[in-house]
């Protein structure tokens, strides 16, 4: 049985991969796509590159932070962020944030939100009144408390909004890291002084004589921390936010669905050419016939996604000027995602193969499904503003696949649910397709 499945799959793959036109489409399309995405987002993946094609994102910043007294001086971390983001006078050409954003400070949160609603700004950053107090350790407050900076984003500008979100996350992470550093340093010194009287006396003398002047500035702003757009991963490692991954993977899955649908259509083509019937009259169970076709489709899907991933990596590396693997460091999980997405897409193809009667129907229904899946998974534009779209998107192969690719690119490994859902989708669609296919052939 396995041998026959492979015989059918191998025949389909041989026909596919010896078709020059098809190969051209499979390679040229991903390369063209990768180039377009790369050119659009090149500035973000260039590391320290100063050439930013997407720039001057209009953003409103509101600082409601009331600050705290720290060592006798006022401390306002919100203002630190404002100073960094909003240029005093002319924008600093060396400051990438000044190039990237066109930040304006406003007085009230309401004005900022209204500006976003009116389309004047892509996003508004609202720093809460208790911001500094929550993340600063003082003699009266020794515990850090969680605090949220609000990013009010426009659904019409998803890319800009996600960039702003990343900037804010980068900033708040840095502030939090600095606060934790100070708290733990002071804590350690105090604890040692209490257990080591000699050290306690020396520390008290140094502090009293002005000899204790620790420099914590590095903890708050290491040189590149705010120039790079970063997100903090669950494991604590930092990884670059990369639109090339986000959009590239969405497009990769979108195109892979078309490849899967072509596989479904191939079943109908074979039926029309009578080569399918010729296989049916061999001593081969019908399940094996459909499995063979779907294994061929599955391998084609895997090949296409791999080609696109490599193409996007190539483009990303060319723009960065160095070899950059933008899909994360966990190659095993990456391979698993590719396999599961391809499996789910093949399952959808099996269902379509069971449902349609002619190649023309297959073409139409396959295209509609591919486009709808792409649409609901945000392959073309953000669907956040469309009511109910987020729920529907979870029924698509694309959503779970793209999300998994994005998580992996940020070195997150919590993709178990994604893999499980993809496997279930593949199994359910394939079983339904097989049932209908079998019934239809028996008529």
């Amino acid at each position: 049985m396995l041998r026959k499945i492979w015989v059918i799959a191998y025949k389909d793959l041989y026909i596919t991969f010896t078709d020059r036109n098809l190969i051209l489409i499979m390679i040229v399309t991903p390369l063209a796509l990768a180039s377009i995405i790369g050119l659009a987002f090149g500035g973000f993946i260039g590391g320290g590159g100063s050439d930013v094609p997407v720039q001057n994102i209009p953003v409103a910043v509101v600082n409601l932070d009331q600050g705290v007294e720290f060592g006798g001086s006022p401390l306002n971390q919100g203002q630190t962020f404002i100073d960094l983001l909003v240029p005093q006078g002319e924008p600093d050409p060396e400051n990438v944030l000044h190039q990237l954003t066109d930040a304006v400070e406003l007085e009230t949160a309401e004005a900022a939100r209204a500006g976003v609603n009116a389309g004047d700004y892509s996003a508004a950053i609202i720093i809460p009144p208790e911001f500094t107090a929550s993340i600063t350790t003082t003699q009266t407050q020794t515990e850090l408390t969680p605090v949220q900076i609000e990013v009010y984003a426009s659904p019409a500008a998803p890319v800009s909004a996600s960039i702003i979100r990343s900037i804010v996350e980068g900033f708040s992470n840095q502030i939090a890291m600095g606060s934790i550093t100070i708290a733990s340093t002071i804590g350690a010194l105090t604890e040692r002084a209490s257990t080591d009287p000699l050290f306690g006396l020396q520390f008290a003398a140094a502090a009293g004589g002005g000899g204790f002047n620790p420099d914590f500035s590095a903890a708050f702003s290491p040189d590149a921390a705010l120039i790079r757009i970063e997100q903090q991963s669950v494991t604590g490692e930092t990884a670059a936010f990369n639109p090339l991954v986000s959009f590239g993977s969405a497009q990769a899955v979108f195109f892979m669905m078309f490849t899967a649908m072509a596989g479904a259509n191939n079943v109908m083509e074979e039926r029309r050419a009578w080569t399918l019937q010729r296989q049916i009259v061999t001593p081969t169970p019908r399940m094996v016939l459909l499995l063979g076709k779907m294994v061929g489709t599955f391998i084609s899907c895997v090949a296409q996604v791999i080609i696109l991933i490599l193409a996007l990596t190539l483009v990303g590396s060319l723009i960065a000027g160095e070899l950059q693997f933008i899909w994360g460091t966990n190659l095993f999980l990456l391979a698993l995602v590719i396999l599961c997405v391809s499996l789910a897409a093949s399952g959808v193809a099996a269902l379509v193969a069971g449902l349609v009667r002619t190649p023309e129907q297959g073409n139409t229904i396959g295209s509609i499904i591919s486009i709808l899946f792409g649409l609901f998974s945000g392959a073309f534009f953000s669907i956040d503003a469309v009511p109910g779209a987020n729920v529907i998107s979870r029924l698509t192969v694309n959503y779970w696949g793209v999300e998994a690719f994005n998580k992996l690119s940020q070195n997150q490994t919590d993709i178990g649910l994604n893999l499980l859902v993809l496997l279930i989708l593949g199994a359910v669609f394939f079983s339904a397709g097989l049932f209908i296919f079998n019934r239809r052939l028996s008529v």
Partner: protein
């Protein structure tokens, strides 16, 4: 003995068939039943919701080692019947057993004994002849050296050994047909089903295919189930024939049995130009010519292709006789005595066309 040049091709074919039937009479294996079809029916639904029987209650047996043909006009139900026997369609009623294996209850065992040559050119055009044969050979469970040997043998049999690595797409229609047939015989099935394999090809390739069919039976000892709407080729190659019309089997037997069943006679057709034939001569032929039963004369107008030219008439004398060849010398003598010049003569022995006409009241090609 040299063939009589006055004999028509059909006369020669009919004789060859009778000879072949006689040759096979003593073959014990021919008496063994390979295929049993019992009350096979298939009902379909029309777009307007009405149901109809494409095939109704077909029962037949095919003996091992024979060429059994299903003859009928297009749309008679031949392909539907065969599709059920080969497991492509599920019967609404009835069953078919191949070598004792039910096609509905034990389809894989039944299919192992079956080779199929569909009417369509069911090949992968971008693969070579060898690759097509290899693929379908593997689907039939062949592999390794056994597959290589089978492919080589078939390529030799279909006379494409020197073109085996060419893409099928570059083949002529006849060559594609030969590969199509080759696939069906690759795994040496006990039963090979061929659905109108000579449709749309030139006479030379048609001849090759018919010869191949005969070789399958005579050399490879296969049983052949053949469908066609072409009476001549069915009559030439078949040991037994089933005539199917409107989904029902209306006659079944050897060509001779079928002809005998409907009581058809030989027809002797004489062209006499514009000469009139007297009624007295017709009566003399009926009474004096050996085995003649009746004679009639008719004049046919022949349209002239030249515009403005007068139409000419042609006299046709038709004599019916139980043994036409025996009546022929007497008729020629009587015509000579009446100073009637015979321009041409044709002896038509009864054929399947006549049988079909007799059974259905219409010609096979209608």
């Amino acid at each position: 003995m040299l063939p009589d040049p006055r004999e028509t091709v059909l006369v020669r074919l009919a004789r060859a068939i009778r000879q072949r039937c006689a040759d096979h009479k003593g073959d014990a294996s021919m008496q063994e039943t390979l295929v049993q079809v019992r009350g096979l029916s298939k009902q379909f639904k029309r777009d307007n919701g009405e149901t109809f029987f494409a095939v109704k209650d077909v029962t037949l047996e095919i003996r091992r080692g024979e060429i059994f043909s299903l003859l009928g006009p297009n749309g008679a139900g031949k392909t539907t019947t065969i599709s059920m026997i080969s497991g492509l369609l599920t019967p609404t009623q009835g069953d078919a057993l191949i070598g004792g294996n039910s096609i509905t209850k034990n389809p894989l065992a039944a299919k192992k004994m079956l080779g199929v040559v569909p009417q369509e050119i069911a090949l992968y055009p971008t693969l070579s002849a060898r690759q097509n044969l290899q693929f379908f050979g593997k689907m039939h469970g062949l592999g390794g050296k056994e597959l290589d040997r089978a492919v080589d043998e078939v390529l030799d049999l279909i006379d494409l050994g020197d073109r085996d690595r060419d893409k099928v797409d570059n083949f002529s229609g006849g060559m594609k047909r030969r590969v199509n047939i080759g696939i069906g015989m690759l795994h040496k099935p006990q039963l090979i089903y061929m659905d109108e394999p000579t449709v749309g090809i030139d006479p030379q390739n048609r001849r090759r295919i018919l010869d191949t069919v005969l070789r399958l039976r005579d050399e490879l000892k296969m049983t052949v189930l053949y469908t066609s709407h072409l009476m001549e080729e069915v009559q030439e190659i078949s040991d037994r024939v089933g005539i199917i019309d409107h989904g029902q089997m209306i006659a079944l037997g050897t060509v001779g049995e079928l002809i005998q069943k409907v009581g058809e006679e030989d027809r002797l057709i004489f062209k006499v130009g514009e000469q009139p034939v007297a009624e007295a001569l017709l009566r003399r032929i009926e009474s004096e010519a050996a085995t003649a039963t009746r004679a009639r004369y008719e004049r046919r107008e022949i349209a002239n292709s030249d515009a403005g030219a007068l139409a000419t008439a042609e006299g046709i004398l038709t004599v019916y006789a139980t043994r036409g060849r025996k009546a022929l010398p007497d008729i020629i003598r009587l015509a000579d005595e009446s100073s009637l010049d015979i321009l041409s003569v044709e002896v038509r022995e009864p054929d399947l066309e006549a049988v079909f006409l007799h059974l259905t009241g219409r010609a096979l090609r209608d």
